[in-house]
Every structure is written in C-alpha cells, then in structure tokens.
C-alpha cells in the first residue's frame, strides 16, 4: 500500500510547482498579497487554497457581506492548478484523488504540491488566456489582468532547468515522505 501511494505522488514530481508560479506572480504584480501568500507556505495545496478563499461566518454586527476579496493569488492558483491537472500528470484523477487526500490526512502526511509539467508554446498561450479571462471575471481591471496573464506566461515559458529558477518549495514532501520506513 505504502509504496503505491508514494509512487502515485511521485508522478506529479516533474515541472514547476503551481505555488511557485503563484509566488512569482504575486511578488511583482500584487505585492500587497505577499504576506498572505507567505503564510500559505507551510500548508498543503488544499489548505492553502482554503486560506486564500476563507470567508467569515459570524455576521452579527458585521457590515453584512460575506463577499470575499478577489486575490490575484487565488485567481492564478486556481487557473494554473486547473491547467496542471488537465494537462499534466494528475489528469484523470477524480474521486480517487479526493479519497487519497483523505487517507493522507488520516496518516497526517502532507501532499506533494501540484506541479505543472513542461508545456508546449500553444498550451502556455492557452493558460495565459485563461488567466486573463479569470482575472476579468474576478472584476480586476484590464491593465492588471493583462499584466498578471503576461507574468504567468513568462513564468511558464522559462525552461525548468533555467539557473535562476527559485528552488525549494518550502514544503518538503519528497524528503519527508521518503524518510518513512
């Protein structure tokens, strides 16, 4: 059993981590989100996403809106993450990945961050368009939507072996899980 899980997680191992793309985009395009994105570094993908879309429950004496602020980080994370699942190693994993996530949680083990595999120029262009659309849908302005989409485009166009690529995804799943007996 154990070996199977390790193996299946290893499949996602190639390419850039989605969270690294998010971090790079936020660094230049949405500096006000640096802090909140920084706080997600210790969390696995699901928990990080929840942190980025958390809404308040108690509304007594509040202003009365539960509408969450649109974050560049959450838009990029969701869009690129979706693309990664569709195009990459994780494709085709539906209900069983949820089950796996649950079991992982039971075993108190963190998931490996989702990675986006090396993409063809056409695929990168598609992701860029999707990011632009998502930014517009989240009611960001034109200028910002273009800037963020371009930034994502650049990030995905850099070959993974490029020397300036930031390393160390802060989560240390590979090392951590392989230490298990």
């Amino acid at each position: 059993m154990f070996g199977f899980w390790e193996w299946s997680m290893g499949v996602a191992g190639g390419g850039i981590a989605v969270r690294d793309v998010v971090r790079a985009v936020v660094e230049t395009e949405a500096p006000e989100e640096r802090a909140i994105v920084g706080e997600t570094s210790g969390l696995e993908d699901g928990a990080a996403m929840r942190r980025l879309t958390k809404r308040s429950r108690g509304r007594t004496l509040g202003f009365g809106t539960a509408e969450a602020v649109a974050l560049v980080a959450s838009v990029v994370w969701m869009t690129v993450g979706q693309a990664a699942r569709e195009l990459g190693a994780g494709a085709g994993r539906g209900a069983d990945s949820r089950l796996r996530a649950l079991i992982r949680r039971l075993r108190r083990r963190q998931a490996e961050p989702v990675r986006i595999p090396p993409l063809s120029p056409a695929q990168v262009e598609m992701v860029r368009n999707r990011v632009y659309e998502a930014m517009k849908a989240a009611k960001f302005g034109e200028r910002r939507a273009v800037a963020v989409a371009d930034r994502v485009f650049r990030e995905l166009s850099i070959p993974p072996s490029a020397p300036h690529r930031p390393t160390g995804t802060a989560v240390a799943p590979q090392a951590g899980s392989r230490d298990e007996p």
């Binding site: 958390k54 308040s56 007594t60």
Partner: protein
Amino acid sequence: MPAGTNARFALLLVLVLVSSARMCLDFSFPKTASRITECMLAAGADLTHPVDSATLIARTTQWYAYTACENRYAPPPPWWLTLGWPLLILLVAVLLFHADRRWKSREGRVTPLERYADGSADRVVKSLLRDAGLEGKAKLVYDASLSKSAMVFGSTRNPVLCLNRGLLVAFSQNTDRRAEDADRPTGEELLKGVVLHELAHIRYGDVTAARATIAVWRAFLLLALIPYLIWCVLLVLHGSAWTIWSTAGPIDNRALIATLALLALGYLARCDILRSREIYADLDAVRRGASTTIWKPLQRDTNPGPPAPGRRLATSFVQLWSTHPRWNLRNEALDDNRQLFLVQAVPVFLSGVAAALVYTNIEYFIEAYGQDGNWLTSAWAVQGASAFAAALVTVVVAVALWRAAAHRALTDPDRMPTGVRTGLWLGAGLVIGDLDSGQGTIDQLWPTRPEFLLAAVFAAVGFAWWTTQCARLWLARWRGRRLWPAMLPCLAGGLLLLSWWFFWWSEDGEAYAAGWYISPGESRAILLYTYAGPVVHSTVLTVTTWIQPTLSPLVLPAVDLLAVAGVWLAPLLAWMLRRSHEQARPWAYALDGAQDAWQTEGTDLPSLRTPMIIAAGGAVSSWAAVVGVQVFMHSSQPATPRLYGIYELTYWTLLFLAQLLPVVVVALLVSLQPGPYRLARTLIAAEAAALAGFAGLAALVSADGCISPLNTLETTCAWRPSLIPWGLHMQLDGVLVVGAVVSFLAAGLAATPAATPGLLRRVRGRTPRHISQQAAIASPRLPAARLTGPGLAVLALLASLGAAAAGIVEQWPRQISGQNIAAVQSDYRTAVTTTTQQAPPWEKAEQVRYWSELGGSAYITRFTADLQEMERRISADPTYPALPAEITSVCEDLRTMGGQAAAYFTVPDLQAQASWAAFVGETRAGAATCMSGLAEIRAKQYTEALPTMDSSFQSFSGATESGRAVTARINAVEAAGGDY
C-alpha cells in the same frame, strides 16, 4: 425618541425567562402526572373521551376538591426551583456574554492591527476612530477571513473592532479599477465605509444589545429549549406514565409542537433585534463621510419592475431569518430614511406572541402555586400578569406607532397611518401566542371553538387604531420640544386598555374558545340561590341571567375604570391643548433623522361641539330613562321592599339598561358624523354621556323615597347614598366599559367603508394615492366652541378619576382577598347540573376507586370511628351531666368532617352520589344537633336536650346506613368494571 431595540431585547428576555420557568414546571409533571390523572378520575372526568367543556364543568363544580387533591397528591415543584431556573439561565447568559469576547479575540484567531503589513490601513482606521471619539476605547484586530467586511464584538463599553483581512487586502489592492467602473468603490472607500458602519454600531450602543441577545438565546437553547425538546420527543416516542389515557397524547404532541414554534419564534426575535440596527449604522456611516458606492455593487436585485408576488413573498420570508436587511432595502434607505419610521410587522407580531405567552404562563404559575385564599389567587395577581404583558406590547407597538405617526405628520400629513395593519399583525401574534401556550384548551390539541380566538384580533386592531388616533391628535396640537410628555397619556391609556383586555381574555374570554357557554337556566338558579325574595319581574330576571354572566367578568379586572378613563381622557386632553398658529414643530428634533425634511401644514382638530351636544342629549335621556324605571318599579313596589334581594336585582338591571341604551345611541350618532378622529370623538361623547348619566342616577337613587311616584326601595324620604354601592359595579363600571366597547364597535363599523379601499390597495399593490382629501373636505368646519374649554377637561378628569377611585375603593376588599374557592364551588354546584358522562364500565370503576382512595372512603371510616368512640365514651359514663365533657370533641370532629366531606368530589356514580349526599347531609345535621344538644345540657335544660340528642343520634344512624350504601355501591361498580 427610542427606536425600540432595547424594548425588543426586553421582549426576548421576558419570553425566555417566562418560557423557561414554565418548562421547569412541566419537567416535574411526569412525576406527578399519574396523580393528577387520579384526581381527574375522582372528579369524574371522562379521560377516554376528553371534551374540554365537560372537563371544565367537572373541575369548576368541584374546584375546591380538585385543587385540594392536586395540592395534596401532585404538588408543583418548590417555588424556588421554578424561579431559580430562569435565574440560572440569566447567569449562564452573563457568563456566555463575557466568554464570547475572550473566545473571539483569542490569540491565533485574531491579530492586532498594528502587525498588519500595510501600516497605512492601521493609520486610516485609527484616524476614523479618533474622529469618532473612540480612540483608545476600541481594540483593533484583524482575522484571517477574506470577506470584505468587519465586525464588532465585546461590549459597547469595551468593544473589539475586528476587520476581516479581505477588507485590508482590498484596501491595499489599490485603485486601478476606478477608471473603468466608476460605481465600484476603491479599497479606501470600502475600508472607511465599513469601519464607519461598525463605529456607528459602537456609538449607538448596539454591541452590548446584540451580544446580549445572542448570549441569552444560547443560554436558553442550552439550558431550556433543547433539554425540553428532547424530553418532549422522548414522551411522544416512548409515552409517559400516563399515556394509558388518551388525554395525554395531545398534550405531549402539543408540547412538542409548541416548543418547536417557540424555537422558531425566538430565533425570529433574535434576528429581528440584530437586523434592526443595521440601517441606522448605514445612515450614520454616510453622515460621517462614507461613500455610498460601497452599498451599490451589493444590490443584487437589479430588476427595475415590481417582482412577482410569490417571489416577493419568498424574499420577505428569507429576509426574516437573516441578520441584515436586504441590500436594495439598505440602498433605498440611504436616499430616503422613511422606512426607519415605518412600523415593522415582525416586532409587532412577536410582541403579540410574547404577550400571550407571558400572561398565559404567569397565570399557569398562579394556578399551580395559588392555594386556597393565598395572595396569588387574588384578582391583583392576575391583573399584575396582564399589566406586565400589556406593558411589553405598549413599549414595542405603541412607541413604534407614535414614531410612524410623528414622522408622517412632518413629512406627509395627508397620508397619516391608521394603525389597522399594525393591529392585524399584533392580533395575529396574540392568536399564535394563545395557540402556542394552549389558551382555550385543556386536554385537547386545538380549541373546541377556535373562532373565538379572533376576538384577540379585534382587540389588537382596536388598540392600534386608538393609539394611532391618540398620537395624531396630540401631534396636531403639541408644540413642546420633547415628545414623551405627549406620548405619556396615550401610552398609559393603551397600557390600561390592554391590561383590562388580557385580564378578561385569560380569565374568562378564552373559556368560550374551550367550549364554555352562557347558560341562562343555570345563571337563574345561581341568582335565585344567592339572592332572597320573591320574583317580581320574571322577564327582567331572564334578561339579568344574560347580562350578569357577560358583564361581571368584563368589570372584574381591577383596572377597568382606569382603562376607560384613559381611553377617553387621553384624546380629550389633546383637544384641551392650546391651539398654536405656528407651523414649527419643536419636537421634530426629538425624532432622530427626521428634522432635516418636513413640509408640514397640518390641519387643526375638528370641533367637539356636535359630539358634546349629542352627549348632553344622551345624558338627559338617561336621566329620563332612570325616572321611567323608577316609575315602573314603583308600580310593583312591595309594602316593605327587601334590600339586596331579587327585587332590587331586577331594579338594578333595568337601571343598567336605562343608562346603557342612551350611551349606545350617542355612540352610534357620533360615529356616523363624518370627519377625522371618529373613534376619539365617539369615545369622548359616549363616556361623557355615561358619566353624566351616572351622576343623575346616583342623585335619583340616593333620593329614593322622597318623590312618591318614584319610590322603589324606600318609602320614607331621606338622602341615602348608601343605596348606591350595591349596584355600583354594574352601573358605573358596567355602563362605562360596555359604552367604550360599543364606541369601538360603532366607530369601527362606521369607519370601515373608508378604511377598506386603503387596506385593499395595500394588499393588491403598493401604488400610493392621496386619499385623505375626501376626508379633509368632509371634516366639519364648525366654529370653535366654548363648550370645549379647559373647564370641561378638568371636569371630565375629576369625574372620571373620581369614578375610578370610587370603583376601586368599593372593590378593594374583594380584589385583595384571595378567592374563597370553597364558596365558588358551592355556588357552581347549586346551579350546574353535571351531566353524567357515558364512561365505559372499566373507567367508571377507576373513577369510583380513585374517588374512594383519594378521600371518599377515609371520610366514611372517620365517621364510623368517631361514632364508635362516641359509643365507647357514653357507655363509660352514661349520665347526662357527663356527656358534654365526654363527647364534645367527637361531635366537633364530626362537624368538621361533615364540612370537609361536603366540599369533596361528588361520587362519579349517580346512585352512590345519592347515598353520599345523604351521608354528608345527615352527618352535618347530626353534628349540628349534637352540638346544640350539648349546649342545652351545659345550660342544664335537660328536658329540651333529650329530644335534641335523640334526633342527633337518629341522624347519625341514618348517616351510617348511607355510608354503608355508598361503600356497597362503589364495590359493586368496581366489581362491574372487572380487573383493570
């Protein structure tokens, strides 16, 4: 002028406390329930086919026995437990209130705002705080939520302003979208607007109110509602100790349904309190510089046309359960604050529910803890409960109606509210509250005649209508800087009116819903039993048998005369205010938010000249009618009229009618006069006529005997005011109360054609139309009359309050003393023929068995033992002079026992009952003759004593026989029932 938040909170609090006390009382019920069932069986109630009216008769005719049985075999839990439970809930609520602040501002959940990366946000918030004068008072933190909102918790004195991180991020996200979408707020506008909204909550004192509401609600859920609900479910599922009787079924289901309803109603009240403050906070935020754009993008409902009715209904329903008003409502309010002054249906409805629960439950305690003759059974205890419920309604509903009327008077005097719709909501609340608390039922799920509950709707509409009219009258003339002095008379009048109504309804009115009826035959029997003398006018006595049972409960409430005084004096005083030609209304400043816009040109009050002329005519006719009655009675005057007998009773009935009929005519005539303030005019005229009529009656009755054709009760001339008190209750209270009721009905009927189109319009669609033009044209422009000078007001005030004082003084001994329930029982027993119910043999066996076990057989045993003791003592020293010393104590015990046995349940079997009645009668007769015989022996009148003692012993031997017959019959009935 208060917006009513605190009043609503008080409402919720009272609801919680009263309901939890009731639940505590109910918790102990299963322990004692089987015993109560036994008492009911012993009383002869048929529990296999419970019919409320039959149960009511069984209980009323055996009230003393039943109460004694319950108190002995099924006592309520100790009073400190019943009162202590609500206190515990209060204590837990206080703890929760304080715990809430700590829990919400704990480390890890929130972070101090200073630590937020973008320091400029902290600076902006701090400067807003400084402007609001709250710097240093409020703690500033932020939490991890990404909503673009904020909230306050803690308390008003020690608040914590918690921003959602989303708001801070939005603030830092900068302003680049403004160019493209001018309606969208910038981050800074959003932050400022939301923070100003929250600061308004702090400044208005909403924090404590809201948090306390939640704390009380949670404590109630935790300690009362949920345990009680579980208990109900267990009872329904598994049955209780007494479910062998079908009677228990509906009660369990009732409790379950009622508790679920209470849950919903309480939650509704909670949401209503929380919601009520939001628009005030919005407006205050805008006033202090918040950009209105922050509300705009949140408006979901952009469809300009009126929504479909079904959809509107659904939206309104969903709205009821939310903590904030709809966005389009909030947006509308920013432009037009009119809705802050409209009477909201929800709190009005809830105050009705709460009032019904309060008076029902308090009276339930009174019933549970009121022992024979203790202060809880006095009329004032019930009156207190009714007044309390009335005060709750007054502070919520009457104050809201005043606000609405005051605002309308300033902004749109042509379309003044009528209060009818508010009254309908209040009435709906009262009916739901009555149903929830089980008014009108004893052992059934649903009242036998639920249509009688509609009376509450009429009363509520009357109250709201009257309050609105009173408010309008005062607002038309009032030029003071404050409103409360003007409100006071109207609020007091409304409160008294409602407490009178609640008293009557809960004591008497609801019995009609339970299936009670007026039975002239039985009333006649009671009258003949109570009053001595021959029947001179049989037809009049028949009329009395209808009037008496209807009227006496109406004038039973201690506040009846005060209520009547309030109802007509409060409007009259408005007429007495000096007319001002200035249009300025200094009180507008008392109405927060209304001072900036008004275009008032209110019309003055119509003259009271015509109503007063009609009233004077009424008073003169009533004097003439009294004279007519005296002439009529004189023709049948006995040679020596007997006071306080049937003859005088018929006289007073005729006098009552002689006074009432002119008052009714006055009410009809005045109510048919066109023009505004119909109700007030009718009430003033009718009550003035009634009081003046009574003054004439008092003079004519006191002078009885002086004008020979009018002699009725006396034959010699003297000034005898002492003749009046015997009939005072009926003549004064009766005429005034019925006169007020008739005025309400007459004015209501006369106003209905005018009011109907307005109501229909409201129901169909909400296109406003100026309708009062017609009324304005029709209003009579009579010259100002001297009739309505301040002198009249003083006269009316003195007369009315004097009458009230006289009435209260006269009734005082009766009101403060606890009821002698043994006397009440004997009254009813004489009059009411209990129908024997067709219980199956096995149930009959159970009935007689419990009759016997719970006391019946003990009386017979005690009698036998006493008799044996008597024989033993007599045979020990069989001489006359020794008798008193030997057997006095035994005879005394027999006398006591006979009295007690007479008050015990009648045997639920006709044959056994005949023997039992003989047993009791002979025992009492024997004991009485025994005591007089012994007295004769003590006086050494031995010759007289011999036959007396002989007859006494004969009675005792007769009683022995009867006692044996009772026992034998009971054994037979038990045997016929078989083993159950």
